[in-house]
């Protein structure tokens, strides 16, 4: 056993209102730069829908992720090492910017500078690639809330898969349709195919917290990672010529803060926590022959932090004590392993993704209430989950490689939670058979309710800091190394490097971690003097 810790995320899709706050705050934090105009580390797509970039799930075309070769061993779908090097001079499977969308801005100046005339001046859209006026025809979110679904909906690769299997059709007629929002970030996979595709070895998974990053100094712009990632969550910065990706806001996570997307989520639907896993078993689990068994296989490599054997092994592996504590209290561990309501996104890509989703019950509830039934009655709900086959099968294509079993089980638990809690709210004694019908205890259901519905900040985010052990050292190194007058324009200004402004090494100012925590304590304390 080789235990490793991973900071993982769970999103409760029932609560997502599709407001895109997460995308916007993420963009403001990370990708509001030249060359990244078209990039959304966090994007929220409406399903059914084509997603961003368009039809990224069509791996016959984009060749992302892993597949099994004839001997049953894992190999990159985009081709092995020799193929990669021989084809390094161009990458035929690389999405063009237009597969995402052509970024644009508006000619705002015209609004103030236009000469006096009879017509109102307008700000015309201008392409940020060519600098010329352009027609806006697609964006990262063009089919938001099923916009244009009767026309484009059929192009969702998952809709096409469901159709191939079920004779019935996914309907886009207004009364029969269903939809939900799917916020996506990088999955920070346990078996990342982006890392495996990088010829320069610039991409890596951090040993401490499992965050997958691109070393900007080592990236040489070969673009293989973009193809390698089946979720298309590595992006090519077309100005700097380097790959960039979601960083899981590691500078925030390291000091115990949630990621920007989590912190700002209006629906408060994101959970962050530690998951322990056995690194020795990853490859074997990812090579599970049947795609539908991959979900169970991935559950199989997670370790239980309560298990003394695991605790001992973790200690030997150098996982700090506060990380073990965090793993024990981890909401992610609870939702994924204990209650089993969260499911991975596209396990069939065999990358062992680590951002999991609680499938939405709301399409079912909505359909029930619209037909005049009680959407919180357990029998009604159970019946509806089964009769609404299409949403179920569609969800299964997304979360469990088409196996409806786990999706039904997860929705069943959510439905049971609804009925159970309604009884409590109405002051009735809850029916214990409800809990046992989904294999849970009443107490467990109530715990799950606290986590999912009350969802307190401290319960949603249990993030151990990166370097409590190093706190002292950190604190010391936070003191400026150089002259304190070396600030810009200051009397002791360090000046430029030997080859002009951008050369040489410069130190960024650093906020002391200690004072940051003190600040937070002060901000959230009841009394002033703490």
């Amino acid at each position: 056993m080789r235990p490793m810790a991973q900071i993982a995320m769970v999103m409760n899709l029932d609560k997502c209102i599709g407001c895109h706050t997460c995308s916007v705050t993420c963009k403001q934090a990370w990708t509001n730069r030249d060359g990244m105009e078209y990039v959304w580390f966090n994007n929220v797509e409406t399903r059914p829908g084509q997603g961003y970039p368009r039809r990224y799930e069509d791996q016959d075309k984009w060749r992302g992720g892993w597949e099994l070769n004839k001997r049953g061993a894992l190999k990159l779908k985009g081709g092995g090492r020799f193929r990669k090097l021989a084809g390094i001079f161009s990458n035929p499977r690389l999405p063009e910017i237009k597969d995402y969308y052509e970024p644009w801005t508006y000619d705002y100046k015209n609004l103030t500078d236009a000469p006096l005339g009879d017509d109102f001046p307008v700000a015309r859209p201008v392409s940020q690639l060519t600098g010329k006026p352009m027609k806006i025809e697609w964006s990262s979110n063009w089919d938001d809330s099923l916009a244009g679904a009767p026309e484009h909906g059929d192009q969702d690769p998952m809709v096409q898969r469901v159709r191939r299997q079920a004779a019935e059709k996914v309907k886009f007629a207004f009364e029969q349709t269903f939809m939900f929002y799917l916020p996506r970030i990088c999955e920070h996979c346990l078996n990342p195919s982006c890392v495996a595709s990088c010829p320069s070895g610039a991409m890596y998974k951090r040993a401490e917290d499992g965050i997958v990053l691109v070393d900007q100094d080592r990236c040489r712009g070969w673009r293989m990672c973009v193809t390698g990632c089946p979720y298309k969550k590595v992006y090519f910065n077309h100005r700097t010529g380097k790959a960039e990706k979601c960083t899981f806001c590691y500078p925030r996570v390291e000091v115990g803060l949630p990621t920007v997307c989590s912190e700002t989520c209006v629906g408060r639907l994101r959970y962050l926590g530690v998951i322990l896993y056995d690194a020795d078993k990853v490859t074997a689990a990812a090579s599970t022959p049947s795609e539908q068994d991959l979900y169970e296989a991935q559950l199989g490599i997670f370790l239980d932090p309560e298990d003394p054997v695991v605790q001992r092994a973790a200690e030997e592996a150098g996982i700090p004590y506060d990380w073990m504590e965090a793993a024990r209290r981890s909401p992610v561990h609870a939702l994924v392993g204990k209650y089993r309501v969260a499911l991975p996104l596209h396990p069939e890509y065999r990358t062992m993704p680590m951002v999991w989703y609680i499938p939405p019950l709301s399409p079912v509830v909505d359909a029930l209430t619209e037909t005049g039934h009680d959407g919180e009655d357990l029998d009604n709900l159970f019946g509806a989950i089964d009769t609404l086959r299409i949403p179920l099968e569609y969800l299964a294509e997304i979360f469990t490689a088409g196996d409806v079993g786990p999706v039904r089980a997860s929705l069943g638990r959510l439905a049971a939670m609804r009925s159970h809690m309604r009884a409590i709210n109405l002051g009735e004694p809850p029916d214990t058979s409800i809990a046992s019908s989904v294999g849970m205890e009443s107490a467990e259901i109530e715990e799950m309710y606290r986590l999912l519905a009350i969802a307190k900040y401290e319960d949603r985010y249990v993030i151990p800091t990166a370097a409590v052990g190093d706190a002292r050292r950190l604190e010391e190194s936070a003191l400026p190394d150089g002259c304190s007058l070396d600030y810009d324009g200051g009397p002791g200004m360090g000046g430029d490097g030997p080859f002009g402004q951008d050369s040489g090494r410069k130190q960024l100012p650093l906020v002391s971690v200690e004072s940051f925590h003190a600040l937070r304590k002060r901000q959230t304390a009841d009394r002033e003097d703490t």
């Binding site: 063009e96 998974k205 936070a478 050369s503 040489g504």
Partner: protein, 240 residues
């Protein structure tokens, strides 16, 4: 002049190459990239880029053989000058043609595709002029001296090139060399000097280590980076 061109210039070019690489490695690892424009346009690039790159790799191998394998070696293998000449003529021309075709397509693409053209810096343009110059002049030199036994550079240019390594350049050998070859050689040296200062530097990061490393790379946080870290290029400057 002879001394400068054939005695000093090669060393200057070489020094600029090494100094440039060291500088890049120390101060501009971030700028060390292919700066691919494939995300703007893919179709043409998928044909042109492999054509050019494979072509120029063959051309490179040809140059290495021609310049650094002495005539006496091939002769002792029983390869006569005429055979060698024909081999180098056809092989070289084929590789050269592939390269020229590739680079012309690439330049056409760069000029006509407006996002690609907008992403072209002055540095790139200079690089393209020198690169195209070196390739085209090399082809011309080779083809104008192709008739009969051709020009046997292996008795003049090659020994001169090898003499550079002994630090006693035999500049007199270059005097009788046809002008076209001389021009090609000078531009070639300019190109070598330019490599580290342009995007051509990516040739030095051919990722052969990919064949040998494990697929998934793990790295620990650098303990030296727990404190203040150097400013990252690529982030636009703010006043904060």
């Amino acid at each position: 002049m002879t001394t400068f061109l054939w005695g000093a210039l090669p060393y200057i070019a070489f020094a600029l190459l090494i100094a440039g690489l060291v500088w890049r490695h120390r101060y501009d690892k971030f700028g060390w990239t292919t700066r691919s424009s494939q995300v703007y346009e893919s179709k043409l690039l998928n044909i042109a880029s492999p054509a050019f790159h494979y072509g120029i790799l063959f051309v490179l191998v040809g140059h290495l053989i021609g310049l650094f394998v002495p005539e006496s070696w091939t002769e002792s293998l029983g390869i006569r000058e005429r055979t060698y000449h024909l081999f180098s003529l056809y092989g070289g021309t084929a590789a050269g043609a592939l390269t020229v075709l590739g680079i012309l397509l690439l330049i056409y693409r760069r000029r006509t595709n407006s996002p690609v053209f907008r992403a072209t810096t002055v540095n790139d343009k200079l690089m393209y002029v020198v690169l195209l110059g070196a390739i085209v002049l090399g082809m011309i030199a080779k083809l104008t001296h192709a008739s009969g036994d051709g020009y046997n550079y292996r008795q003049t240019i090659a020994p001169w090139a090898r003499s550079l390594f002994t630090l006693r350049p035999r500049t007199e050998l270059m005097q009788g060399v046809p002008v076209l070859y001389q021009v090609h050689a000078v531009i070639g040296m300019a190109l070598i000097a330019l490599v580290p200062y342009t995007r051509l530097v990516h040739m030095f990061s051919a990722p052969v280590q990919y064949l040998f490393r494990p697929y998934v790379v793990y790295r620990s946080r650098d303990p030296r980076q727990l404190g203040p870290r150097p400013a990252r290029p690529g982030w636009e400057k703010t006043d904060a």
